[in-house]
Every structure is written in C-alpha cells, then in structure tokens.
Symmetry: C2
Subunit: 348 residues, 2 copies
C-alpha cells in the first residue's frame, strides 16, 4: 500500500529525499554520520519515528566502518556519533529513544567483542524499525474505533509512511479505515512553512487514491465552523508524562479550534514518543528553525533581508486537556491522560 | 509617512502593482474598465476600501472616454461598466458602495448634460477617495484608546496604505499609536495563500521602521499561549447588520483563538464596509479562488494536477460574538454589536 521512507538492504541505508517530493520520488544513500546529520537537518528525512530508525541504522553503519584498535576507542567513537545524531533535532524524542537503545548494546558488550557488538547493533536497528512498523499497524487498529463511516478527518503535517517505519501514525488510522472499506475524506493542511501537508501527506494520499482536499492552515477553523470536520488527527514529536504533546507548529491552534467546535481531537504516536522523564510540555525543547523557511517564497530584496525579523518555531505544545485522547500502539489513552499514561507505562 | 496605493493625477489613474511587492515598487496605469477588472482579479490592487476607490475612478474614466450620441446610450454603457466592475470580487462590499454612489450621479442627471455628469463623476470619485483617507485617520484616532503603551499587536493580511485611500484601517490604528510615540511591536501573519501579510504588511511596516516579526499563520495560537500578544487587529471586507465580519481567511481562527486566550480582538473598517442590507454573516457571499494559489509553491507534476482537490475560500466569517468590538471612523462599536450598529447608522 505504501512507499517506505527508509530502506535498509544489502548493508545499505537508503531514504526518500523528501525535499524532492512531490516532484520526484528519489532514494538517496546515507553512508556516514555527517551525511545522516545533514539529511536530518535539511529535512530530507523527518517524522519523529523515522528519525529514530535512520539514526539507529546510521549508528550501526558507523560501528561497521570503524576499525578501532581497542573496544574503548570503538565506544568513544560511537559515543561521538551518538551525540552528533542526537544534536540534529531537539524536539522529537524518538531520536533519543532509538539512540539510547543502540547505546545500551554497545555499552554492554559481552566480552568486548567488537564484531559481536556490530551484529547486535544491526539486530537492534532492525528491531527498532520492525517494532515501529508493527506499532503503526497497532495504532491503525486501535484508532479505527474512533472513526465513523463515513468520516471527514482533518490532519496536519505528515504522519504517514514518510514519517515512520510503517504506514504511519495519524495517517495509519486513516489507512486502516480505508482498508476496512470506510468512506473517508481527508482535509490536509498545507503545514507552513515547509509544506509537509501539501507536499508529503497530499502526495501519499493521492498515491493511495484516498479522497482528500488541500487547504491553507488558516482555513481549518472555517471548515470546522461549517461542520465539515468529524475528527482531527495529528502526530506527536514528544509526549510528556502529563499528556502534553509537542507536535508541528499549528497543532495547538487546531486542538484549540477543535475544542471550541466540540470536535474530537487525537494525537497518534507509538510508545517511543513518550518521554516520561519530562513532567509537562513546558519542559520540552522547541526547535526554532531558520526564518528563511518562511521568507523563501516572498522575494524580498537582499538589502532588506537583514532587517526582517522572523519567528519560526517548528513545533508547539498542545496541553493534555485539549486532546480527547492519544492513540498509541498499546491502545487509546483517554482522559485524564496523566493517570492513564502512568498506568500504561507501569504495566509495561 | 506612507506610499499611496492609488494615485489619481492629471486625469490618469495609477496603482501600485501589488503582485510585484516586495520586490518592486512599481506603479501601473489603468486606462480602461477591462484593465481595471483584470488588475482587481489578479490582486494587483486589493483591500476593500481601495477596491471601491479604484472602481470609482475607473468608472469616471470610462465616462470620459465614451462618446455617446444620447444620454440613454451613455447610461447604458456606464451600467455595463458598473456591472463588470462589481462582478470582479463578490465579498468586499466597498466596491458596491462606491459604484452605487457613482451610479447615483449618472442616474440623476440634471438636464442629461453629459459633460456636466462627467464633472460630477470625477468630483464623486475624488470625494470617495478623500473620505476614505479621512476615515482612516478617524479609525486610527478612535482605535488609539484600545492600545496600551507598550503594546504587542497581532495583525492579519494587509489593511494599510496598500489597502485603502489613507494609512489604513487596522494598520491605521498601529500607525496612529506609533505617531503618538507608543512602543509597538507587530506580529504579522504571512496570510496564505497569497502572502498579503508577508509581502505587503511586512513591507509597509519595514518601510515605516515599525518593529515587526513575521510568523506563519498557524503560529498565532502558540504566540497567544505564550502571552506574547496584547491585542488582535484585522480589517473587514463586509460587515453584516448583526456585526458578523467577513475578512481574509484565517480571521475567524484568530478571533476564536483570541477569545480562548482572553485577548481583545477588533475588526477595523470605515462605515462603507457595513452592509445593512445583510442581516448576518451567513448571507455574505464568500469568494472561492483558484486552488492554484495554494499549490503554486509545491511543484507537483502536471499529470497529477487534475487529481488534486483544493478548497480556497478567500474569506471567512467571524461571528459578532467573537469580537470585542469594531473600530470605525465614527467611533468604536462595542458589544452588543447589533444594537450599536443600528444606533450608529440611524443617527447618520
């Protein structure tokens, strides 16, 4: 049904260069940590779960290339790669989740056998990938119970196969409903400044022949006012212990507007997106990106550019109280979110 | 202080071609009704009050060019120009307001003296222009009482000298406050799909050296959440009898978010923007524009274009209850708006 964003085969890591979409579907290979870091910074690959998977494979490839004299050197070099990958983007916690799993492997080396560590690192990266694939399926299955038939769903940014190791989180729910034969219509917000909705989600849905309509971000409220939206679904880059959700800028406005219009609004994310070390959304670091991302279409004269101030946070925080719930691979977390999150992660 | 969008001098009508901004400040002449209609359709000139002024001058120029044998033919041809100008854009009522004033002149011809009618039409067009200029001043003066010092104001689309015959409506309030020495910071929403905020408002404020920061539309809620906005100000394209306001798409979301965050939110408009023939916002026709305006940046392959659905309403409706009030040239209309509007227009 979908085109995978990340392919690891024959010891090569390939990703779709998402900056070329929708014009071109083009895979590029990532051979080194600097290449992966650049690809992540430039959003050639993005989406919280996808970032974790790519980081894990990259760390494995780094481990494979290294020819250290001793284990300590090997570990030191991997620690360096770990840090560089982690530093690429601050908000999505899946990056840290995946890298920590990899670190645990190379930090706990039975007998410090480097060739054995390499094998274990590959197995772990594959496992992270596979688990995310499976989590997406589960999210779709659980989310299905929230979808009516027919249903008009509004979604933001990209949360599909381009953002994950499977068919997606919020989009996974949509794919699951379509697979079940539900009559779905999707309103896709363009998601300024980088157009992940217009370029990526719309492209995915188009290729899967799912009826969808593209709107500008600021049209979402007007659609809700006209009773044209049954359900709001978006993803998450990090979820705090209390259920506050960091996600693409604009998610907070959508959740606020959904509340005003009494439309159910859910974030969808695998367990790896929860950061239990963080009590509330306020503590989640929000990445501020270069304002040129906003300005690029507007053709200002170069001599004016130094005088133009831009504020370009890539994410915002939706407080737990504005969400009807969170769709996870473990089931749907309902209100009160904080208590339910605690229960869920205790039982695991 | 400002660059006028419309200049009528030596019997020539010139406008800034706003599609060239911010790259170039370039005036173009409008010689004929078809030229004016195209300029309006392509948004070379836009902004409700500015549309009325340009339409009035264009009708005068048409009257001047016509060489009719009899008054009846003259009137018939002007009626045709009236209809063509009116049909350019359905939402902004100022177009009808100005054209109706011009029609009243040529419909009420003392002695059917065509040369005299021409003179009266010119005088009326000048009067419409001058009155709007004055109305902007008054809006600024009245609006001043709503502005604290210092004040951070969020505004949407363009409501400045590029949109009116003066220094603007919502921007007029900002200019008035700056002139008074207030410390103002303006957050400018880019206003997708056509970027009137990013291209026009930001350019105006930059040229007037007023501190301002550009954001994507969907960042407004996040700013409010962070207590970074003291006041929300936007313009209006048509205001119904009950105080419902049609304005640039996204205004409704901003007003809703302002309400959620308990931030005062005002529309600013001259009396000519009120349409007392319309009871409520639902009856205001909302212009739906070509979806290509949204898609133009996203580089889809031509073979996919026929399959892409877009919904591109240029305006939305903010219900009266979401506004703290409306700033007019006659004073500030407070809640309950319907009653206050009735009073205001009765006394006129």
């Amino acid at each position: 049904m979908y085109t995978p964003a990340i392919v690891f085969a024959r010891e090569k890591l390939s990703i779709i260069d998402q900056t070329r979409l929708p014009r071109r579907l083009e895979y590029i290979e990532l051979h080194s940590i600097p290449q992966t870091c650049t690809a992540i910074n430039q959003l050639k690959i993005r989406g919280a779960p996808a970032l974790g998977i790519v980081a894990a494979y990259s760390l494995y490839l780094a481990a494979k290339t290294l020819r250290p004299a001793r284990y300590e050197l090997f570990k030191k070099q991997l620690d360096d790669s770990y840090r560089r990958l982690l530093a690429t983007r601050p908000t999505a916690v899946n990056l840290k989740y995946a890298l920590d799993r990899m670190k645990k492997i190379y930090n706990n080396p039975d007998g410090h056998n480097i060739s054995r560590i390499r094998k274990l690192l590959l197995a772990e990266a594959r496992e992270i990938h596979l688990q995310d694939h499976h989590a997406c399926q589960q999210i779709g299955e659980h989310g299905l119970q929230l979808v009516s038939n027919p249903c008009t769903i509004l979604t933001h940014c990209n949360t599909g196969s381009l953002a994950t190791g499977g068919w997606g989180t919020a989009l996974g729910v949509i794919y699951a409903a379509v697979e079940k034969g539900y009559k779905i219509h999707v309103y896709v917000t363009e998601t300024r400044p980088l157009g992940q909705g217009a370029r990526l989600t719309y492209w995915e849905l188009l290729h899967n022949k799912i009826p969808c309509t593209l709107i500008v971000d600021s049209c979402a409220g007007f659609l809700m006012q006209q009773h044209k939206v049954d359900l709001v679904l978006f993803g998450a880059d990090r979820i705090a212990r209390n259920g506050d959700v960091a996600n693409k800028i604009g998610s907070y406005s959508l959740a606020s507007l959904a509340r005003v219009h009494r439309i159910p609004c859910y974030a969808a994310a695998p367990a790896s997106t929860f950061d239990l070390s963080i009590a509330a959304g306020k503590q989640i670091p929000i990445e501020e990106r270069n304002g040129k991302e906003i300005l690029q279409f507007y053709n200002y004269n170069n001599n004016l550019l130094p005088f133009i101030r831009l504020y370009n946070p890539a994410f915002d925080i939706t407080p737990a109280r504005l969400l009807t719930g969170i769709i996870t691979d473990q089931g749907i977390i309902k209100q009160p979110l904080a208590g339910e999150i605690k229960k869920l992660f205790k039982s695991n």
